[in-house]
Subunit: 337 residues, 6 copies
Amino acid sequence: MARYGAQFGPDITFLGVRRCDWADPSSYAGADVVILGAPFDGGTSHRSGTRFGPQHIRQTCYLAQDGSRPSLAMRVDGLRDLSVFDAGDVEMFSGDADRSVRDLQAAVHAVTATGAIPLVLGGDHTIAWPDAAGVAQHLGQGRVSMIHFDAHADTGDVEFGSLIGHGQPMRRLIESGALRGDRFLQLGLRGYWPGPETLDWMAEQGMRSYEMTEITARGLEVCLTEAFAIATDDCDGVFLSIDIDVCDPGHAPGTGTPEPGGLTSRQLLDAVRRICYELPVVGVDLVEVSPPYDHAEITSFLANRVVLEALSAIARRRKDAADGTTWNPLQPLLDGR
Amino acid sequence: MARYGAQFGPDITFLGVRRCDWADPSSYAGADVVILGAPFDGGTSHRSGTRFGPQHIRQTCYLAQDGSRPSLAMRVDGLRDLSVFDAGDVEMFSGDADRSVRDLQAAVHAVTATGAIPLVLGGDHTIAWPDAAGVAQHLGQGRVSMIHFDAHADTGDVEFGSLIGHGQPMRRLIESGALRGDRFLQLGLRGYWPGPETLDWMAEQGMRSYEMTEITARGLEVCLTEAFAIATDDCDGVFLSIDIDVCDPGHAPGTGTPEPGGLTSRQLLDAVRRICYELPVVGVDLVEVSPPYDHAEITSFLANRVVLEALSAIARRRKDAADGTTWNPLQPLLDGR
Amino acid sequence: MARYGAQFGPDITFLGVRRCDWADPSSYAGADVVILGAPFDGGTSHRSGTRFGPQHIRQTCYLAQDGSRPSLAMRVDGLRDLSVFDAGDVEMFSGDADRSVRDLQAAVHAVTATGAIPLVLGGDHTIAWPDAAGVAQHLGQGRVSMIHFDAHADTGDVEFGSLIGHGQPMRRLIESGALRGDRFLQLGLRGYWPGPETLDWMAEQGMRSYEMTEITARGLEVCLTEAFAIATDDCDGVFLSIDIDVCDPGHAPGTGTPEPGGLTSRQLLDAVRRICYELPVVGVDLVEVSPPYDHAEITSFLANRVVLEALSAIARRRKDAADGTTWNPLQPLLDGR
Amino acid sequence: MARYGAQFGPDITFLGVRRCDWADPSSYAGADVVILGAPFDGGTSHRSGTRFGPQHIRQTCYLAQDGSRPSLAMRVDGLRDLSVFDAGDVEMFSGDADRSVRDLQAAVHAVTATGAIPLVLGGDHTIAWPDAAGVAQHLGQGRVSMIHFDAHADTGDVEFGSLIGHGQPMRRLIESGALRGDRFLQLGLRGYWPGPETLDWMAEQGMRSYEMTEITARGLEVCLTEAFAIATDDCDGVFLSIDIDVCDPGHAPGTGTPEPGGLTSRQLLDAVRRICYELPVVGVDLVEVSPPYDHAEITSFLANRVVLEALSAIARRRKDAADGTTWNPLQPLLDGR
Amino acid sequence: MARYGAQFGPDITFLGVRRCDWADPSSYAGADVVILGAPFDGGTSHRSGTRFGPQHIRQTCYLAQDGSRPSLAMRVDGLRDLSVFDAGDVEMFSGDADRSVRDLQAAVHAVTATGAIPLVLGGDHTIAWPDAAGVAQHLGQGRVSMIHFDAHADTGDVEFGSLIGHGQPMRRLIESGALRGDRFLQLGLRGYWPGPETLDWMAEQGMRSYEMTEITARGLEVCLTEAFAIATDDCDGVFLSIDIDVCDPGHAPGTGTPEPGGLTSRQLLDAVRRICYELPVVGVDLVEVSPPYDHAEITSFLANRVVLEALSAIARRRKDAADGTTWNPLQPLLDGR
Amino acid sequence: MARYGAQFGPDITFLGVRRCDWADPSSYAGADVVILGAPFDGGTSHRSGTRFGPQHIRQTCYLAQDGSRPSLAMRVDGLRDLSVFDAGDVEMFSGDADRSVRDLQAAVHAVTATGAIPLVLGGDHTIAWPDAAGVAQHLGQGRVSMIHFDAHADTGDVEFGSLIGHGQPMRRLIESGALRGDRFLQLGLRGYWPGPETLDWMAEQGMRSYEMTEITARGLEVCLTEAFAIATDDCDGVFLSIDIDVCDPGHAPGTGTPEPGGLTSRQLLDAVRRICYELPVVGVDLVEVSPPYDHAEITSFLANRVVLEALSAIARRRKDAADGTTWNPLQPLLDGR
């Protein structure tokens, strides 16, 4: 099979990293991370537009698209110190959620099977099902924990007559046995959904969901530390699923179901950094960036930086593991140069 | 079955007309026209967003939403001189084109079977298949001709691996025998799609497609008159399908696949008026209004007025038929009062 | 009384022309035209925002704001060949239509009494009442005819419990005797307002209203010529009232009650040119520019040019009257240089 | 009198709650809360557009408009555990502030007289005068304290020659004796208005105003606790008036007089929650949401959630009072299920 | 020298055509047309933003970016029936007009010297100087005529103290002898610039400028035919320079100096078609597309189509020359298939 | 030389303060602060548009433009308690960075030489070079320290082949000896630029750069206090350079190179306040406000307030120095009145 390329717009890669074809592992031999686009917005319950997420996340940056991004904070280059490839988009026909989900899982599984970390750019949150399931398919059912940033629990059962959709992926993952409910950590929930029945189901699964009230009262750092302990208890790896609507609409207006009262972009970046630096991340997705509702591209800029933050932290984690060093957030930028 | 209401936003009706449930004909007994919303955008090949079309077309008006709109030009009230009901939306899960199309056809057929004219608010152009097929299902295969305003022929075969989508409805209608290819009139085509193979297929079906070059050279009025003769030759009724992108992007920016060089809004309104006044229209759809790409709601305003123009002209046609009178476009507004 | 300045934003003048205080005629001695801002949007029935009209119309131009604009087409400088002053805004408290209207009429009357032409920048169309009434107050009741460009007749009686508002000024002008109904020319009407009762009242007054159907069928030039004959029959001057919504929303999105199917900006500019060149214009207002709904300032650009077109044509009319020459639209730009 | 409905757009209710007519108490018998729209923007000193506030606040939500919103944080359904009705809009002619204010006070008073809490959706802040005065008219002059979130003190005397306007309601309330100056708590003030004279007047009244400097230095929680003590000292109830511009423009761009440096949306939501949970709220208004200046509807989303936060906290307060329980912000979301 | 790529954003080509390096003719051997980006906006006198023109014009299309665009109207594929390459951008430092202009001329000249037609995507109109001068450098001073679509004459002398800028390129071209003043055809001029002195200079050069008044009065077709005769009199080729602001702001809002009253997009497309089909075009530039001021990308869509229209017509011209056939605008789309 | 006025738009002053001509010191005798506009955007590496910064910063305010702004927080009027003049713009031809920089330095130097503080409104950050150099030219090379708020270090060497540009001013200042590297304090840096080589150079200069990680970990207040000690060690004054992109894009979307994860607007205002109150500020610039990318003018509002915050704090510093008093941030607003 030949590389599919981009479903919408020109065939570009994430900030200029190398191209590959997910179906041809030789095209990304030795990859640490493989980026996949999943331009699907057929599963959203409100505003659409996330089909243009991959296209915008890949390129929304004011620097040269040269496959290099040295992080000031982490002192590594996430695109060069890791071997990062971009496999382009998996064709997602938004009018056929069933087929799209199936095809995406195959691609994620193929990438994971090579030992690389799949990093999937959505698309709406429907894709978290095939994303995490594809990883679990390789690493083992129930062997991967989930850290999930979102304003919404995404544990609905049937919506618009369908089991598949952006409000249901987390239920599908648990019901299918791909992930364990008691290794499912959610951060940033708030608002008025889901209702009691679904919350009861979540409690039964042993999920741990940090609503914004708790995060505000206890502090995000404390909640994260607590969550990390659960996530690494008897699991081999962590899947990180980031719905950009975990941020406040002021920081991320370009999304489908904005819920006021969320995290700042600074908080999200720092949390992603900690997770990817402190935990054995085996898969990542970043979803719900909807460019038609964005302004001055600020949501796309944020999403691009979330990806880079994850890659930088993973690179630094590997470097520190190799060098026996530790990253120090208190070190001034120019110290040690 | 109970009225479904609105899939997105509050449960409103077109400018305040009466509510009904399409599945319960007694709820719209004696209706001349029944409005249906089809908020589906899973079939678009580029920008999405048309799922919010019905919601915006129904209410984008600066006058009171009182179920009355006396037309200055036609001297009738399209919402009162006709019996117009709004059945709300047919549930359209954009992630399942197949089911959405099937359900919509059932609704359109049910409405048609009562003798009412279905007027469907899209949604992307995928819905033209079930719209016109639902009408033909009642009036007879091949007994209804099509007048189709669009920048695009929408006669593609397979797109993104699917037979269903917003680029293919016209092919499905002809291939299924619902409509005759040689009673298929297209106006406003332009640009760079489809390619020769598809054009050859269209020619084989005997379609008559007026590209903008011909319309500019000969005049829209002349082309329309010619098309009317074909449309009424051995057919019992006319289905009118209006893709708002037939208008120039300057007049209709809020759409998914804008193609420069189209009609003005004045031209479209006048053409719709002539068709609905001069021909036996049995079904109408209006598609591809994508509110997230609109500005100052100008595309929604236009779409709302296209609906009213159609209703006003149908009302005047019936009134003139009853009274033995004829509408005179040269009559000054205040003459005869 | 001292010059009030600008009600909103910095105290600027139209493209840099000289400042004056309308209450102090010595500050604009010898003026041909005095510009007044009327930033009132309390009378609109739908979108507000026209209070920022004067501010935007005055300055939306890409050339230096130097009080000079040589017209390519008319070969005169409307800002220098005429003596043009800008009196700033008349304070308009949008929450008190009654007082605002009264104060504006006083200002317009004061300007007219000096022999200058008042040119009022709205604001919503409520202001046409004091604008034309202020002129008639000086020139005589019934001695001034009206040419009115608009999508709407603005002849409503009571709206929201008030006799004053942007849908009623033309009725007030006729009912008060300020203007004669049979010297009232309307161009560009369309859509679904007002209803039959109001149209009957209009017919009784002898108004002549050109709906877009008639304009399209007969041609704008023909209609204008016909209207000119009526306007100059037994009247001493013409008041020109331009609602920017006479243009199609594609050309003028930034307005409160957009009605699709209107004039192009080219048509409006040419019509304003003919009126100001061929007729004895004694007052002008330009209303309903609503900057918050504008995009890329295109409506403000258009409004600025409508003002300049009027001034250029008035200047050329006076020059030709003095020189015994005639303007020739067929003359190439560089001929005669 | 019959229900007026919506002044602009279709006749909807807040997220689908039941309709009522404020003038007919039998239509909302047993109501805990009655929502009123006050679409008035004639009193604003700068940008207008708040007339569309009620329309947008009522419906800007991505969930079904089904009259139910179970709060994750408060574990109650503010729309079902309370009896909530929406009376539609009170007709507000923006060109007549005097009449609008009078009519609104009548409606608020009528609602209050039934024992229900009026919750008024503005409109500009002019309406706080009739809102709080209408409540005091029933509960007694000086018996209701005020908690007022705003960037501005709104204690101006005369603006644009009027005593009525969005910069003056708090002065009118105190001067009229409806509210006591020394039970008037303001939070979030900042910027460059009003000047010393007005501040002196405020000090004389014994007002307590928390400028952002103090809030930043001491913490919002500390300031609130202090304010609560004052508000409940010798008063029977609290009126809560929320100007959305208390939030930073990054969180609430869609407003008329944005002042940088404000609260986050999270802070506002938490503060409203505390007030409505801890204090005996007898009236609420939410003002200055100006949709034409909004982006991606983020300000309308926030406003919708502020209303829900208030209703959820009131519901929880009543439930806890009945059950003898206490809400615990530290309780994890899924605990106790 | 290696291909520079894209100055802003990812390194893409016009709708997916092949890449080349202008400095290495072997990389585009046999090319008919070579596209160059000139992302320069340092010469504009008002709004900037055209630096993003090349990036947007290259990709703003809803079809697959596959290097193929079969024209419905011209029945050729401008990207396949011609050999078209995209050389990427010439580095344009907007802060150094002098160097940018010099470097661009070198690139254009290099392309022209190979026999290919350079097609330059601006950038502001400053670049017309190096564009046409680079062509003349190869074909001979005074041997190339100019057809120039624009709202502005661009014949200024010194602006902001500089001889170089977007208001002066046409003067530089004539003064330098690159082009003859009496073979300089301008279409679409309007508004209030330049002043008499500059117009006198233009007349002295023998320029022929069609202001919109003349175009409206005589018809665009007539003016074009007249212009063609001049352009082909004693010249070897025609350079076509298209400023997108020749279109009305309603059709092209995304530009720096919009002037109301311009051409429709349909008129511009048809005019470009005629020129490229009927005349020996040797160079093209398309300038002043400013994406930050665009809405829904309508200006970029138009610009993309203007490029395709030019290429399609050139392809058809060459095909007809080879086949001895003639294109017939009256032929229906499906005739002859 | 006569006052140049405004390069773009009408000739206004910052919120209505008095006009002056920088080249004529008698026109601003006794000035404490002189505002200069530097509408230059030719040096930006990505989005342009900052040329309209001065125009927007000067007037984006909802209060009367009357040259008075009494600060609630500081209890002084920054525009009246200081003597503030606005010299208008220095002509900046964006196509000639070299000349623009030279001319701006001359103006800044002239102002500084009179003893006034220059406050420069950009424009892109290119202008920091002439701004600070012009101050040092008078006060002595190396005698002025720099406090620099920015997401970016702006210490690049050559960009797009030029030594001048918005990414390089800080290097130029240090290399030229105007400022000392070890008295150069940077706050807010983050993201992926510059690379190691440049960071090494910065370290060699002894610069102190607070990246957001350190600021988040230690707190902004602590970092500021530390920085103040360095800034005042063996220097005579402080230059404050504020790039608006130091704020998070949610608070300042209207800028050219937005980098997520920045300060809130509250933090920036408080920091500017402390600097101008606690340190001997001798020059200020505020750059990178790009109105075409702004929404609802929130970035311009913020910038306007940053200027006022600086002026208010300077005024209070001088007042307290004269009165022997100290400003107390804990004092309630109405206390002491």
